[in-house]
Amino acid sequence: MKPSKTWVIIVAVIVVLVGIRMSIGQGMARAYVERVDQSVDVKANATHVATTFKWTEWHPVQPKMYEAAQKADANQTRFAFSWANTIGLWLSAFFTLAIFSFLYRDNPGYRLAEAVIIGVSAAYWGVVGFWDTLVPKLFGALTPMLVHEKVLPSLPDPTMGQVVAMYFALALGIMLLMRLAPKGGWISLWPIAFIIGVTAGLKIVSHVESDLVAQTVATFQPLVNLKSADHVTQLWPTIWASLANILLVVGVLCCLTYFFFSVDHKGAVGRVARVGIMYLMITFGAAFGFTVMGRVALLAARVEFLFDDWLWLIDPAGKRIVEMATAVGSMLCWW
């Protein structure tokens, strides 16, 4: 059998199964919301009179809550079916499957998801940058009144230093935007130069402080480890602990040797560097093993989303299974 044929069959089986699932019992993938009426009294002050603000919020709830409420009173208005969230749920499922389909090969579904995510996420980060950085930092320092009146009433007033820094940032930003002007694009290199210089200056300090010196000092381990909690030196623990320290120190030195640039990896240096490479390989192997763990959990989470939220196939709370079983049973009886 050709591989492509097999894949067509696999996909067809999945589609059929989803179709069957949709027609069983209550179906699948519907979202419900709860109505929450908000009302806040605002006291009068210099600028406005006392008023009460009222609005309605809809909070997502479990389908079983809707069912229970519906059973108790068919005309209740507290819980309701949510078109927006149901469409969202189906959209999420579609996107999830579309991305997974890339594993087979590039296809229109994946390209669609890709196109959507680029547009959505680029704008998302732009919006985050605006509301979380520009508004509180830049506008909060340059136009504090406006920010207080419109958005963040409790933002602390800016200090003189902040104001100066933000004018400076604004100047850099404008220089950067000169790139868009027909002439003067060369000036946009200045803010970049500034940022690169600042980064370089800051990173020297932080790396020498927290990495170079700290890690060097942390390697000052005794090759003979006699310490034990009860001050009684036991043979085997001592040997194991000492061995661990010896292996550690040797490892650090060998790996450092590997990183020497001005010496060729030949002769004795080459042998030491080779031991260093072996240490690095063990390090990488361990990291690989640990990472697999995390990645599988992420996949499991997505599969759970498909099975639980979308297909209503599994149900960790054990509510739907009974319903499904009776539905399947009655279908079989009918058959």
């Binding site: 680029a122 998302y124 170079l212 003979v224 120190v249 010496v263």
Partner: protein
Amino acid sequence: MRHPYVIHDTLCLDPSDPDWRFAGIVEKGYRALVARNAIANRWRMISSALILCVIALDSSGAIDSAPANTPSIITGNKVNLSSKIPFNELGQEVTVPPAAISVQARDVPWDAGGVIEVSWKPAPDTGTATKWVIERSEALQTGLTPWAFVAEVPIDETVVLAPKLSASASYFFSVTAVGPEGSSAVATTKNAVTPEWNFFIGAKLPLFCAILVVSACVIYYILAARRGRPMKVRRIAALEAITDAVGRATEMGRSILFVPGIQDMDNIQTVAGITVLGHVSKTAAEYDAAIEVPTSRSLVMEAAREAVQASYLAAGRADAYNADGIRYITDEQFGFVAYVSGRMVREKPAACFYMGCFFAESLILAETGNSIGAIQIAGTAESSQLPFFVAACDYTLIGEEFMAASAYLSGEPDQMGSLKGQDVAKAIAATLIIVGVVLATGAALAPQGTMASALEWLKGVLGS
């Protein structure tokens, strides 16, 4: 004959439902110094507002007056309960811990200002005390400001640093021992101390020296290289492969993909990635190969454009530079990856470079690149991602090798010299490790010996 007043307080959270708690007892005629006892025990952490309720007791201890609530909310620290009369809620005398002896405060020398070191001696027997509460008061010309909380430390500590002080003011400090039944008398400093700032932060001297040593090594060899001293650098296979990869892309008529990581320009790895891009794009310009640089930050896009454009100019091929090949995609990590891997599958670049700061996307990119048969060269200092690049790429620059890439590729003597200087600094670190290990071993064998004190000295010199 005593006619004490019982004082209750409540945290003013919800005036309709006051949670009255016992705060202290005073005799008639005494000023009611409530907060000391009360806050030390309960409301210390949240004592901004207290409502006081005073109930008078007759000699037998029975209540003889209705509760008289204080009319307004009183800020916590305005009132102090004298520790002279330690009573509990039933009016019984209790034992309180003895006060601290000789509280001293001094400005921390060689610091950035704003910090005062407060130290004290505990009484010979601290009794039931469990902790010390330290407070401060600013000395104004008109008197003292209300006492403000500074710190709370376990009873076995006798020094505390009071931070966040104003460098232009002077302060008094008080120390109180607190036990389960009550707190001791207050011991205060005799003189006010000003937390002055100094020209240089003394605690950072070791760090300053360490940077100086590393810089001196690097600068010395840069200068030596300029004077013509030959600098040898070992072969780094991954960097040798760059030219081949660019050449191959040219031969195949396909593009080159260069990803400078997914972090912004405030990450030194991105800066290093851009410097490597400068060299790669020059080679690409010389070979006339198309180079594509998707970036996940707008600033990185700008920096990459500057670097690539200048490289094309330097290669005499300014006309071939295409700004739209260097484009911003999205800040979102996986949105970016979705684009790059889709693009890779469709365009099938012949060579892929991943140089910068990478996280989980490393393997998605490298595996996709592998599936389209591209030559892949990766470089990162993100040690958690190295295994994946090592497993899926043809060549990987590990950590420091990546940082050295730009210097190596430039081939300029002074840049090569800086690599040599880096090696010397590394040798110094290795030597220090060996010395430290020998001393530590000696210290482990003879905990009281010279080696042990030498080890302590060395650690101190290194600032830890």
